[in-house]
Structures are given as C-alpha cells and as structure tokens.
Symmetry: C2
C-alpha cells in the first residue's frame, strides 16, 4: 500500500441507507495541498465506479493518479492554494471497507453478506472523512461519472456544508440504456462459473466474466466517432491475431488490452455492489420529484460539464441536471463540451476540461 493513502475508521455503528450497518468502517483517502488556517480551502472529489483514492501523484506516492493532469501545483485543482481530498468509495476495494473486507462479526470476508450499498452510503462515508478532517464547510464537492451522483447525494443530505458543486459527466439518476448496460455487465460476472455466488477463490476468480464486463464498459465509455477515426478497419498487428474467431481488427486488440489491464485488480463483488448502487440512485427519492430533490440543495455556485459523445451519461441528462440546479442555484453554469471520446473524455480530453475547471476554481475564493 502506498504511503500516500491515509485511512480513518469512522467511529461507532454506520447505519446503511437501505438497512443493515457496518461496525466502524474504514475509509481510505488521499489529500494534496494544505488545509489553510480557516479550513476554508478544501475540495472533496468523488470518483467514478472503479478508481481508487489515488487521483494524483504526490511526494509520498509518485505514481500517476487517475486525474493526474487536473490536480497539482498550477493545475485546475491548484494545490498551491487548495486542499484536495479524494475518498475511496465505501464498498470499493482500495482500502475502504467493502465486500472484500473482514466482517468483524464473523471474522470472515463479507462477500454477499455486505449490506445493500447505495450512493447515499458512499456520500455519508465521505462526510465522515470530512468531519474527521475537521472541515465544516467545503469549498467545493466535485464528482465525476458515478461520483457526480454520490456528490449530488452529499449535497442533498448536507445542504449548506459546501459552497460549490461540480458535476462532470453524471446525472440525477440512471436511464434505462445505462441500467441495461450495467445489468448485463453484472450478469457477465455472475455467469462466470468461477464467481460461485460471490464466494470465488481469491487466486482463481471470475476473471473471464470481469474481462467481458470491462470490454462492454469500454464500448460504452468511448464513442463510435472516436473509434472510426482511430481504428477504422485497421487490422490487429500483434501476436494474438489469427485463429478462427480470434482477434483480427485493431479495435478488438484495443479492447483486449484494456480487459487484460483491468482484470484481477478490482474485487468482483465490489464491482457488483457499486454498479448496482449506480442504477438505484435517484434524486427524485428526495421528496418525490427531481424538483423537490433539487430544492434541498443549498450552495453558492454550481458547474455542470457534459460531453456530446457520451452515451452512458448523455448530454440531455447533463442539461436536465444543470436546469434543475439552476432553478435553485442561480449561479449555475452548464458547459457542454464537444469532445469525441465519450464518457471517458474527462479522463483523457484534458485540453477541453482544464480551462473550464481552471476558470471555475480561479474564481473560487
């Protein structure tokens, strides 16, 4: 484990949103920059489904983070003046308590005995970390993809405890296309005979199901337009080519590389829990409508960024989010970006995202 990763055990019993509880769960997080004397410069980042808290490198861990180009000295989340916190989601497997953790009641891994996980739980656990750090008011909550929904849950449940909210390629709730994709990804893992109802061998788990799920993920994270220009009908050149039904086109080789890279790292049960939580979150559960949900939010400014080629969190959902926020937070800005790299653009299209986030945080005092 890297020395950059800090952990905190939340005190006492942590009640889960849909029932059940965890005894003093552990949350892993990393921070960059220094908390100022007024404790007024903290930015909390919620990640997407699969990343760890390692959003950026630091002295303690020089390996590149998942948002390396966004956090650091002189970057949009400028660590010369901001104190940036990224928490590994509750239920994940990179230091935070999740299905792969030991259940203190039994001395064994939770696996499917882990209680139903919601993004409200992810938000409340991060709230616990923020309390632990002694921060009363966050300068901003930033959420990407699933993290945007976790961030929305955080804002709705702790109104007034943040001055700004930034949602990137997220939504108020999932639409049926995204639910269908995630449901199928979960089924791929559950259908792998090595899944064993969640009781897989840690040395011999449902890797094949995970690889299939990862490939479907990549198909929905990028865009047809990007691949048209990048791969066209180019043939694969590597040694995996050949053989009936084996890899023949460059795009197949690309998917295979991503699937290989992913597998084994992420706990399959964690994936199932977080994926399901993404389907279930719905801002309208707060008071019965999206409008009533938005009304509970209290902050000074909001920024909603979306990408035209995103098929998983499509642009019209970003617009819906921006319009809803705009009705309660007049200083809401909606920035639709014309990037071709789909949902993943916020990870790779830095030239498009950086200036928008720079402008926003430069004007945060």
């Amino acid at each position: 484990m890297s020395t950059a990763r800090k952990t905190v055990s939340l005190p006492g019993r942590f009640a889960m949103h849909r029932g059940g509880h965890l005894e003093s769960p552990t949350l892993a997080y990393e921070t960059w920059g220094e908390l100022n004397a007024e404790r007024s410069n903290a930015v909390l980042i919620f990640s997407g489904l699969s990343p760890s808290a390692h959003a950026s490198s630091s002295g303690a861990d020089p390996s590149p983070g998942w948002w390396e180009d966004m956090i650091g000295s002189g970057l949009p989340l400028d660590t010369d003046r901001l104190f940036v916190i990224c928490v590994n989601s509750l239920g994940s497997c990179f230091g935070s308590t999740g299905p792969a953790s030991i259940d203190p009641a039994t001395g064994k891994e939770y696996r499917l005995d882990f209680p139903v996980l919601t993004l409200e739980d992810v938000a409340e656990a991060a709230w616990g970390v923020v309390q632990h750090l002694g921060i009363e008011t966050l300068l901003a909550v930033v959420g990407c993809s699933m993290g945007g929904m976790s961030g929305l849950a955080y804002c709705v449940r702790h109104p007034g405890s943040m001055r700004a909210f930034v949602s990137i390629s997220s939504a108020t709730r999932a639409e049926p296309f995204s639910i269908a994709v995630r449901s199928l990804q979960r089924e791929m893992i559950r259908s792998d005979p090595k899944w064993l109802d969640g009781n897989y061998d840690r040395q011999d788990g449902p890797i094949i199901g995970q690889r299939l799920a990862r490939k479907l993920g990549m198909i929905t994270y990028r865009s047809a337009e990007e691949w048209r220009g990048r791969f066209g009908r180019e043939r694969a050149t590597d040694e995996r080519r050949g053989g009936r039904f084996k890899i023949e086109f460059a795009v197949e080789s690309y998917l295979e590389n991503h699937a290989q890279k992913f597998s084994g790292e992420f706990d399959p049960n964690s994936y199932l829990y977080l994926s399901h939580a993404s389907d279930r979150f719905d801002l309208a559960e707060y008071g019965g409508s999206l409008a009533s949900g938005f009304k509970r939010i209290k902050l000074e400014r909001a920024l909603v960024i979306g990408v035209s080629s995103d098929i998983l969190f499509p642009l019209h959902q970003q617009q819906e989010l921006a319009e809803g926020l705009g009705r309660v937070i007049p200083a809401t800005e909606f920035v639709p970006l014309d990037c071709i790299r789909g949902h993943d653009s916020f990870l790779v299209e830095m030239d498009a995202f950086r200036p928008v986030l720079c402008d926003f945080f430069d004007s945060c005092e």
Copy 2:
C-alpha cells in the same frame, strides 16, 4: 419443418470465397406470389443475421414471418404482382447448409471445420437459388441489416442481373463500434464453458453465453431514446424480481424476456460464423476502394433507407452508401427516417417504412 420451406441442393462443388468448398450445399428458401411468364417480377430478399427464410406467412405456413407486414397482397412487396423470394443465408441453421450440417466427407457435423464464411458466399448461394428458379434478371434485390451487405455483394458480383437494389439499415462495411459489439458477443459465447470449442452437446449448449450475446444485441438493436420513453425507471413487476443483483428494473425484465425467447433456437456456431462474416465484408475489397466497388454495380434504381437512432448501422453510413451508389446510379434515392426504435426499426416501425417501400415498388414495372 414447415411445408412452405423449399430447398435446393446447388449442383457440384461450391467454392468458398476465402478458400475451401462445400459439396453441393443445400439452400432453404420460401417464395410468395407467382413468377410471371416473362420471369420479370422476382424480388430477392436477404435477411439480417438471425432470421430464417420465413419472412411472411402463406397458405403453407400461416405462422407470422419476420417481415409479415411487408410482404403480401396489397402490402409494399405486393404478392398480387411480385414474386418474392427469401433465402436462408448459407451458414445459417434454418435449412441451409451451415456449421450444424453434416459434412459429407466425414459423416459428422462440420462445426468449426466449416470453411471460413463470407457474405460473398451468402450472396453466391442465393445466386444459385435464383438460377435454380430460372430467373435471369431480378426486379429487385432487397437487403436488411447484414442482408444489405449480402445484397451489395450480390450486386457487385452479378452486375446487370437486377434492375433495382434496396438497402435497409445496412452499410458498405462495418465500423469499429459494430465490430467491437459483435466481437464481444462472439467472445461471450466462446467464453461459456459449454461451448467446448464448438463441440457443444446439442442438449446442453452454451445457452448462458448466447443469452448474454442476445442481451447485448438488444441493447444495440434498439435506442436509448425509445427505452427512456418506454421504461424510464419503472420497476419490474414479474416474479423474477428480488434477490441481490437480480432483476429490479423493467428494462432488465425486457432484456431477459428477449434472451429467453432467443436461446436454443439458433446454432451457436452458425451465429459465430455469420457474425464474423458481417465484420469482414468490405465493399472496398472490390478494386481497392469504395468508389471502385460502386463502379462495378449496374442497375437502374437504388433506394437506401436508414434510421437516425440506429447505433449499429448509423445514419452517416447509410448516407455514404447512398452517395456512393448515387455516383454510379443516378436514380438513387436516400430516405433517412426519424424513427426512435434504432436498428430494429425496419422490423417494428411499419408505419414509417411501408410508405417508402410502397412508393418504390409501385413505380417498379
């Protein structure tokens, strides 16, 4: 087997486009209407990947066909004046020779010893059926989805033997998004431990892999827009609901119903062969460019229909096809339809498709 299904054994050795051959393969087909004395009223239909030759009901087989609302008395393909032929693709499993057929050389099923299949082979086999029927010039070749590419192969290889070509939701060749989807569908089947390298037990085959592939199929055959209006975040009401990670949303229930319906019907090896053939077809292989491919086509009129919400054969590919045809066939019409049911629209949005095909065939003499 229904009495509407006719079969013909093509005489002699059938050479496959990428090498190998079949000894006198059988082709299954159905016909509707009567061939006129001049043999000038025949329309040949190429189906998508999975349908049989049973495109419509008839006296001999009253069960509804896959294009029931399009073929018949008073319908766009009006059997009062047209002689309509639909051939089950070579390599399929509904009466035509394919991987599930007996290899006369061994007395056993071909399975993966079936030679590499291309859409050129599908086209040439249909050509054999047309010759068998004594038809020199077709009034029209009509192809839907994969069948549009088979039809294009037919037109390129037999210039002048048809007066018109109708392409519906097809393309000159697959783009990387569609290749990625089909490659993943094939991998789902191949990853099922019961696939056994194609040597599955006929009573206990790779049903789980087939169901996963079918669900991914449905996700790409329909559209996010349709599902948004049709399902939203509606919960499933049927008995399958409940249990961790089980079906919860109506869209999941819909996919499950389609997967259940599909499984067992279609030979998994046939699916793999036809899916791969769809990836590989490329009009540009005729002379080295799309332009050179188009130049080999000789007919009087062409019609290209596409749908705005299609993500598998997107509208810009229909436009490319129409423009290419238009450069060699001045009487080429391009009809983009604004249907929300995605690639499957030609099977379900009859009110949009019928008038276009009516107009086209009404003006065919």
